[in-house]
């Protein structure tokens, strides 16, 4: 295992965790929002209450926290970064229900795992994983973290865990195999379950040095905190529509989900079949994060009934990124395709996303 390297928060390393700015309502960059500027920072004092009147949209949360890199590890093509922040509330999603997960008495940190493929840099947003944390041989955390999404960290795995005592912690990550269909340069890779280890030093002083910023009057407005910029690890993103391979069929908005559809003349490596391949890349408005765990179907009408009317399959592509796709004979002759997001992304949500992406309407793209 390499890299138990820990990114210290503060000093020169602070710039690595630079958060650029917020996308405000008017798109105005917010003065003082850069990590490292103390103006808006507080040192881990009370977390603002959940806003009383939250829009059913992506909204600027009450506050935003920085994070501390605990360490990194690699096995084969898999790369892992473990980080943490203050324990904080989040929301679990079951179907169209949300369940607020409050901080428990014993919770010490919010632990986060990001996994990605070394060769393509693609973040692996939704695979089987289990994290074990022990101190002096005693296991303190042993669980699968939730797949979740936050405005500054994007799609990751996380949970509040009882990790509080100072000292050295040993972490084992068991990960994979990746469950989605893998396409392009990812086809045939990441098919094994691996384990990776790292160790890190934990202190309350380090935890307390993580920034927490009250977003004040901006809270509750439509918009989102910008992604963190980190040199050590990628944040899951999606290719710009113009960068997707194939013919761009169109971009439509369903609620705060932006659906970008493209047609490849033949399926990418990793997908069996012959004929055109329809790939739909849903991403969050503002930050363009991928949205795993949703149910997305496509309908293509024909003269004698639908040419296609079925769910699209989740896939992760080197060029296509996280998308939902299918081989669709007849796509080249189709006049339109209707995309129906049936189920909101089954991801735990950090604040600002917990009311978004529900009740998404179908959208039709004319071809």
């Amino acid at each position: 295992m390499t890299g138990s390297g820990r990114g210290r928060r503060g000093g020169a390393d602070r710039s690595r965790l630079r958060r650029r700015a917020f996308l405000g309502v008017a798109g105005a960059a917010l003065a003082g929002a850069t990590a490292g500027c103390g103006m808006l920072e507080q040192q881990s004092v009370g977390t603002p209450a959940v806003l009383a009147d939250r829009p059913d949209r992506v909204y600027v949360p009450s506050h935003v926290e920085g994070m501390e890199m605990a360490g990194m590890a690699k096995t084969g093509r898999y790369r892992f970064a473990l980080s943490y922040s203050y324990p904080h509330r989040f929301w679990n999603v079951d179907g169209d229900r949300t369940e607020k997960v409050a901080v428990q008495d014993g919770d010490g940190v919010h632990l986060m795992l990001t996994a990605w493929d070394a060769e393509t840099g693609r973040v692996l947003p939704a695979s089987n994983q289990r994290v074990t944390v022990s101190q002096g041989g005693e296991t303190v955390v042993d669980r699968s973290l939730w797949r979740m999404i936050s405005q500054n960290m994007g799609v990751h795995f996380g949970d509040n865990v009882p990790l509080a005592g100072e000292g050295t912690y040993d972490v084992t990550v068991a990960f994979g195999p990746v469950g989605e269909t893998l396409t392009g340069a990812l086809a045939g890779a990441l098919g094994e379950r691996v384990t990776a280890s790292l160790s890190f030093e934990f202190s309350q002083a380090t935890l307390q040095s993580i920034s927490i910023e009250d977003l004040g009057y901006r809270s509750g407005r439509n918009g989102a905190v910008e992604p963190m910029q980190m040199e050590m690890m990628p944040v899951a993103g999606t290719p710009a529509a113009a960068d997707l391979p194939g013919d761009h069929l169109g971009t439509v908005e369903s609620g705060d989900v932006v659906l970008v559809a493209t047609a490849l003349s033949r399926p990418p490596a990793g997908v069996e079949g012959t004929g055109p391949y329809l790939a739909v890349s849903p991403r969050t408005r503002y930050n363009g994060y991928p949205l795993p765990g949703m149910s997305l179907s496509a309908t293509v009408p024909g003269a004698e009934g639908p040419v296609f009317d079925d769910y699209l399959g989740a896939a992760l592509g080197s060029d296509l990124g996280y998308h939902y796709g299918t081989v669709l004979e007849g796509l080249q002759d189709a006049g339109e395709v209707t995309l129906s997001p049936g189920l909101t992304p089954q991801l735990a949500r950090h604040e600002g996303y917990e009311t978004a992406f529900f009740g998404l309407p179908a959208r039709t793209i004319s071809l």
Binding site: D94, G95, S144, D159
Partner: protein
């Protein structure tokens, strides 16, 4: 020796602790606490059933007709001490040791139930192969996301009783630490033939999980309901969701009357289950989204009677549909997809444990073939569901998120007539 001081500990927790610790002192303490007044076993053992696994007729049942499995358990994983293959005298010793237990206690939930099973590794000692009527592969990983170690002891003895002291006394006798049990002389012991490679203990039944929830893997507090027979807070083993003993019995060949046994060691991770998940989520993932939507499960599921209402509510047939529409599928829902001749494929006789101070499930199932186990487990894995729907490999995919499989082993549970160190091709002794 760990202390099992009795002060301030409920009888149930105390007895469980004694079983977990084992040994003569634990037995003495346990007997004092339980003081069972049990008759001895039958004078003639000839009328005992040939099926070692024929337990249901001598077990208690609840008001709904569900079998109540024995509450205290010990599993001894045994290594054969000899080199090569067992001898005739060794067979006689093993048979005498097992018969001794049967003479000492009635064959019932209050008395003692005992089975002995043998691994593929054991049968590989012989030149001859097992007959085709026995499907006993070496253990294997059952899902792409698990990485278990494999148990390959020669034999496994399973001791079960509602009394911890009975289980402990039987164990001490098998180990050769006592030469009498319940006033009955037992001169032979398994220690003359086997060494104990591993010892696993546990419990099942209302009250025991609640009493023993102060263990890693269960969050602090009184989360496990008093009425629950298992740590996860729900009943299992509904009569209509278990195969019959007839169904799991090998029908042909020299081991006709036997069955196969799968034993795995699963750790439970219930912090999220009890501290973060909603009741809706727990019911949907344990049973089925329909049960959660319709509020079909009261408490631990006592209202369900003798069925988990899987087919009644269309759960198995709607697994993929539920995954798309609700984003979650249930453990029972997935498992119920594995059926044949309108029957589940297995009988579960699993139990919880605090072995290694961790919340543990010793998953013990009986089925005619290990292939039946694999089919059920694959249905439960829901890899097919995760591949095509919003349900994750483990998340929202039944209860997979809350379990991790550490060990697996497969065994042949021969009929009683061949229970003592059988060869792969036992010769029938004419009656």
């Amino acid at each position: 020796m760990p202390s099992i001081a009795s002060r301030g500990v409920s009888r149930r927790a105390f007895v469980k602790a004694a079983v977990a610790i084992g040994g003569a002192a634990a037995l003495a303490a346990c007997q004092t606490r339980e003081s069972p007044d049990l008759p001895t076993g039958p004078d003639s053992l000839e009328r005992l059933p040939d099926r070692q696994h024929a337990w249901n007729d001598v077990l208690a049942r609840d008001d709904h007709g569900n079998v109540l499995v024995p509450r205290h358990r010990v599993l001894l994983l045994l290594e054969y001490d000899g080199s090569g293959t067992p001898t005739g005298p060794e067979r006689e010793t093993v048979e005498a040791a097992l018969s001794g237990l049967e003479s000492a206690y009635p064959r019932s939930n209050e008395g003692l139930l005992v089975t002995v099973s043998y691994s593929r590794a054991y049968f590989d000692r012989f030149e001859a192969a097992l007959p085709e009527s026995v499907d006993l592969p070496a253990p294997a990983a059952m899902a792409p996301f698990e990485d278990p170690a494999f148990d390959t002891p020669d034999a496994v003895v399973h001791l079960a009783s509602d009394y911890g002291s009975v289980v402990l006394g039987a164990e001490e006798t098998l180990r050769g630490e006592r030469d009498a049990l319940n006033g009955v002389a037992v001169e032979d012991s398994l220690s003359e033939v086997f060494s104990v490679a591993d010892r696993r203990t546990g419990f099942v039944g209302a009250g025991l999980p609640a009493d023993n929830q102060d263990v890693a893997g269960v969050p602090e507090g009184d989360h496990v309901p008093e009425e629950s027979p298992m740590y996860m807070g729900f009943k299992s083993g509904f009569e209509k969701n278990q195969a019959s003993e007839d169904f799991v019995t090998i029908g042909d060949g020299p081991f006709a009357g036997g069955t196969t046994q799968h034993l795995s060691l699963l750790r439970l991770h219930l912090d999220q289950w009890y501290e973060q998940d909603s009741r809706y989520h727990r019911v949907a993932t344990m049973f089925c989204p329909a049960h959660a939507e319709e509020g079909a499960v009261d408490g631990v599921g006592e209202n369900l009677g003798d069925t988990s209402e899987m087919t009644e509510r269309g759960c198995p047939a709607h697994t993929t549909e539920d995954a798309h529409e609700h984003g979650v599928v249930g453990h029972s829902q997935k498992s119920a997809r594995a059926r044949a001749e309108d029957s589940p494929l297995m009988i579960r006789r699993d139990f919880d444990s605090t072995d290694d101070e961790r919340a543990t499930l010793h998953f013990l199932s009986l089925q005619e073939t290990i292939a039946d186990f694999r089919e059920t487990r694959e249905a439960m894995n829901g890899v097919d569901v995760a591949a095509d729907t919003p349900v994750g490999q483990r998340q929202n995919n039944g209860i997979l998120q809350y379990l991790s499989v550490e060990r697996r082993g497969n065994y042949l549970l021969p009929p009683r007539r061949h229970r003592a160190l059988p060869t792969p091709r036992p010769v029938e002794v004419s009656a």
